[in-house]
């Protein structure tokens, strides 16, 4: 029993050591955004308990900012739920992409699904995990560390209010840079870039047509329609090329 437990601990610790470096850029980005969120909640008249609880339970950055303004508006639970689903709809895509990877991970799976924010999904989907590192524990620690960063940032921001004087303007670019790097790695890994182009063109066109606040749902619909319409050439690019 003792040996088994030790083995188990070692497996988890090894995965933690492998996962931590992947989460460092998230730490920078999440502390910046999390602190900004805490300050915003504080400035809106809420004690640090609110950003603490919201960052821990909702755990989805953009929605949490909006929740603060919802708390200051008249009570409208149904509208709040619809709004939340619309803002978070992109997570449906993450789930579809992780269906296979999360298979057979036992109890960890529930937490992995609960904590699957943009950044955690991107790391867990794209990270190259060596064979001797436990996949389940790796996903688990990436998810847990990221959530700790976010919750601690939001709480610190809520406690400090506007006491911060260090000029951190532009630090949130860490998140953009993270997605650029993951995008680039994915691009270099694949032979055909049809899906990447579909994502790029759909989002830019929808951003221009629908504006910054309302473009994500139309983008998702466009991506689905185009991926479905071009399924044959995407699945068999060689054959489609021969046919021409």
């Amino acid at each position: 029993m003792n040996i088994l437990e030790k083995n188990h601990d070692r497996k988890a610790f090894k995965a933690l050591k492998w996962a931590f470096p992947y989460t460092i850029p998230i730490f920078a980005g999440f502390w910046f955004l999390g602190i900004a969120y805490g300050i915003y909640a504080n400035a809106s008249g809420f004690s640090f308990v609110y950003p603490l609880i919201m960052s821990m339970t909702i755990y989805g950055g953009s929605l949490e900012f909006i929740t603060v303004s919802m708390l200051l508006s008249p009570f409208a639970p149904v509208q709040t739920l619809i709004m939340a689903i619309m803002i978070q709809a992109r997570h449906l895509f993450y789930g579809i992409s992780m269906l296979d990877k999360f298979k057979g991970l036992g109890w960890k799976k529930y937490y992995l699904i609960y904590g699957m924010c943009d950044e955690t999904f991107s790391i867990n989907y794209s990270a190259e995990i060596p064979k001797d590192v436990d996949r389940g524990w790796f996903y688990f620690f990436v998810t847990l560390l990221n959530q700790i960063y976010w919750v601690s940032g939001a709480t610190i921001g809520g406690l400090m209010g506007d006491l911060i004087s260090f000029d951190t303007k532009g630090l949130d670019f860490a998140m953009t840079a993270l997605f650029v790097v993951i995008f680039l790695d994915q691009w270099l890994k694949e032979k055909h870039h049809m899906s990447a182009w579909i994502g790029l063109i759909s989002s830019v066109v929808c951003l221009i047509l629908f504006g910054t606040d309302d473009f994500m749902i139309p983008t998702m619909i466009c991506i689905l329609v185009l991926l479905t319409a071009f399924r044959k050439p995407i699945e068999n690019p060689e054959k489609a090329g021969d046919a021409k």
């Binding site: 909702i58 919802m70 992109r90 789930g95 609960y114 699957m116 991107s122 953009t176 994502g199 689905l224």
Partner: protein, 109 residues
């Protein structure tokens, strides 16, 4: 809002988030084989998603007004160049971010 109403409001946001994260797993729970079409989506969606997330991060850039998206363009250029050169995720992200911070704090004020 009363405390109860606040709790319900936050609860609705939690419910909405959990639903969007869990729904694919609830529908395709492995008891029946996942349809081929969904397997196909799972394989090709990520590339489109990463494009979408990059655009999402840049949604507030104003290419037609000051600063014309220049700090973003330059910082992304630096990130990509460093990444193609060294292939070290942390280094690429750090260089891009430091470059961006210097640009927006000192050059494009």
């Amino acid at each position: 809002m009363t405390i109860t109403q606040q709790v319900i409001t936050i609860g609705m946001c939690v419910l909405g988030t959990v639903l969007t994260r869990a729904l694919p797993f609830l529908i395709f729970n492995g008891k029946r084989p996942t349809p081929r079409y969904v397997q196909y989506l799972g394989k090709v969606l990520p590339s489109a998603i990463f494009s979408m997330l990059v655009v999402y991060c840049l949604r507030n850039v104003t290419p037609l007004h000051y600063s014309y998206g220049l700090p973003e363009l330059i910082a992304i250029g630096v990130t990509v160049t460093v990444h193609l050169w060294k292939r070290q995720m942390l280094l690429s992200i750090a260089s891009g971010t430091v470059c961006y911070m210097l640009l927006v704090q000192l050059v494009f004020k």
